[in-house]
């Protein structure tokens, strides 16, 4: 089969997958902001779209690399490149199929788990059990358990700080002005560090730790000043101070929502373009190469796909989400989103493909444990758990089937 045909097919399926991810996941990422009234749906869509593209382009390569060459060593295919191409196409097609079927049956599946299942699936039949890097697989599986817990701890801590220093104080409004800027500063610092420290070589953003730290401190200080400016602009009213604190927390939550969308782009773009990146690099270099960087246009394409999904279908998903949730306010939303974004971004930098939605669930429970949320339905956790247990083998089977069909037809 012609290699360029495989490339076009892979790019199309990857793009389709990106649009799907954008439509479904971003609604989850922005749900708390829309529900708390910090963002209108229109603004949420714009913020999410822009930040998703930025995250995908600036930090998206790390996780894409894990999917491209972390789970299965491509060098095993150096004498049969075509099989590798078929395999990666099968992985992205199989996981896209599975996610579509699961969505049809209203199962809360994660594209992350599906794509990992897809890659492992074709690996099992092409190079066998020994050909898969089980250590990496184990780390990835562990990260699925650790990331929601880790995020939950961050969210718990952030909300506890808000509770202790703002909500429990005698002057909640003055305290918000004092404490708030530290949060915006932290967002700036973390974002900047994730982008600049050994970041994208294309954009010359790969700074050593000291320089990256210095720049990030400056960005953090900028965030502090911005937060301070926004909170000072707020004019006090005669209503209850706690409601006013929530009003003041609105810009903080817009910021954290953008932060979360950025992290989502950074991590989840790989689910769509990771296998495509593997195919592109093989075809471009005409050999199975380990050291080639992921082309920037591919990250951009994935990012635009995510944004397109948000603009078109995600709008509708968000509408239903926004109407249904009533029990979350901006201070809670900020805590949950900050924890989610930080965790997902950290995992992205470590090359760990994690599920943004599951991390978000962990964070909301974290805020709940700090007595921040009026009602959480715990039976949802069971559904999530069973959905991800079933995703790995299901997506794997789809991937295997497509791989076998392709290799029988074209070899």
């Amino acid at each position: 089969m012609d290699a360029s045909f495989i490339l076009i097919a892979a790019v199309l399926v990857g793009l389709y997958s990106a649009i799907n991810i954008g439509a479904n996941d971003v609604a989850n990422a922005m749900a708390t902001s829309v529900a708390s009234g910090a963002l209108t749906i229109k603004r949420a869509v714009v913020v999410a779209g822009v930040c998703d593209i930025l995250g995908a382009v600036l930090v998206g390569s790390h996780v894409a690399n894990t999917i491209r060459k972390g789970l299965i060593d491509p060098l095993q295919f150096s004498d049969r490149q075509n099989l590798f191409l078929f395999g990666m196409l099968a992985a992205v097609l199989g996981s896209a199929l599975w996610v579509n079927i699961a969505t049809y049956f209203k199962l809360p599946v994660s594209t992350t788990h599906s794509i990992i299942g897809g890659v492992i699936g074709f690996g099992l039949v092409s190079v066998g059990i020994a050909g898969i890097k089980w250590k990496v697989v184990l780390f990835v599986a562990l990260s699925w358990i650790i990331s929601p817990v880790f995020g939950g701890i961050i969210a718990f801590t952030i909300f506890s700080i808000i509770k202790k220093f703002i909500l429990s104080s005698k002057e909640p409004i003055a305290q918000t002005r004092k404490i708030g800027p530290f949060f915006t500063g932290m967002v700036g610092f973390i974002l900047s560090l994730a982008v600049t420290f050994k970041g994208l070589k294309h954009l010359h953003l790969d700074l050593p730790i000291i320089e990256a730290l210095l720049i990030s401190l400056c960005v953090g200080a900028g965030g502090f000043l911005l937060g301070s400016f926004l909170l000072r602009r707020y004019k006090e009213r005669d209503t209850d101070p706690y409601y006013q604190v929530e009003k003041m927390a609105n810009p903080l939550q817009v910021l954290s929502a953008g932060f979360q969308a950025f992290s989502h782009g950074a991590n989840d773009v790989a689910n769509a373009i990771g296998p495509v990146a593997a195919i592109v690099t093989v075809i471009q270099t005409q050999k199975v190469e380990m050291q080639v960087a992921i082309p920037l246009w591919l990250l951009l394409l994935g990012g635009v796909g995510l944004a397109f999904g948000v603009y078109t279908w995600g709008y509708r998903v968000m509408e239903t989400v926004g109407e249904k949730i009533t029990s979350i306010t901006p201070t809670r939303g900020f805590s949950a989103e900050f924890g989610t974004a930080t965790t997902v971004l950290l995992c992205s930098r470590l090359g760990m493909p994690v599920s943004t939605t599951h991390v978000a669930v962990g964070n909301i429970i974290g805020v709940g444990l700090a007595r921040g949320i009026s009602a959480i339905n715990l039976d949802v956790i069971k559904k999530i758990f069973s959905a991800w247990i079933i995703s790995l083998p299901a997506a794997g089977l789809f991937s295997i089937a497509i791989y076998l069909i392709l290799s029988i037809l074209f070899t």
Binding site: K164, L167, K170, T320, S327, R371, I376, N377
Partner: protein
């Protein structure tokens, strides 16, 4: 479907606030009820009593709605049992108003001139207790907003303390009124004496439930 929207449940605190409003709409009628009762206007007593029955039923509907929206798998910032017991006590306040209204229309009981001052004072004290309890309940949304701790909880705690004092004053007023009633027992027929004991007891119960609601609210507060 978004998993996040399934995860976040319906807050019980807004409905609890709505229940408080319904209870208030019911028990606020106790003053007009006692006013027309003291004046001996039988027809008007019946009218107000009817309104009380209707308002009590409205509160019941909200109560049932809250209960059915609190399954065991729901995770709340305060213990589920505390919320349900608080709801029960708050609802009992309206129940007492209903029972009182029923007593007054069950049989025509006239208020002897000698008893009027004491009865008025007793009703005042009972309704003062009830009003503090309603102020405590009306803070529920703000308490949820501040995670049931901090300055807001402190404020509510002080209200609950004053509730104890109010209820004690209502008890004293009940004693005084009962004593007065027995001091003129020769003038009253035995059935009237029995009715008065019931009416006093029902008014006292209303104040007790108001105090209990406050105590249940106290269990939800955290000293952090």
């Amino acid at each position: 479907m978004s998993i996040i929207s399934k995860l976040l449940g319906k807050s019980p605190f807004e409905p609890l606030y709505q229940h408080m409003l319904k209870v208030k709409a019911c028990v606020d009628l106790v003053r007009p009820l006692m006013d027309v009762f003291l004046k001996g206007e039988e027809e008007k007593v019946k009218d107000v009593a009817k309104k009380i029955f209707k308002a009590e039923h409205d509160a019941d509907i909200v109560k049932k709605d809250i209960r059915s929206n609190l399954p065991k798998s729901i995770f709340l910032p305060v213990a589920r049992g505390d919320i349900l017991r608080f709801l029960k006590e708050q609802d009992h306040i309206a129940d007492s108003a209903e029972d009182l209204a029923a007593l007054l229309i069950l049989r025509k009981t006239t208020v002897p001139e000698e008893l009027k001052a004491e009865l008025k004072d007793f009703v005042d004290k009972v309704l003062e207790t009830y009003e503090v309890a309603m102020t405590v309940s009306s803070e529920i949304k703000l308490l949820a907003e501040t995670s049931f701790g901090g300055e807001e909880a402190h404020k509510v705690m002080e209200l609950i303390e004053s509730l104890k004092l109010k209820e004690w004053e209502a008890d004293k007023a009940q004693m005084t009124a009962a004593k007065k009633m027995f001091s003129i027992e020769k003038k009253l027929d035995p059935v009237s004496v029995m009715m008065w004991m019931h009416i006093f007891s029902e008014l006292g119960t209303l104040a007790n439930h108001a105090e209990n609601a406050g105590d249940q609210m106290r269990l939800m507060l955290h000293n952090s």
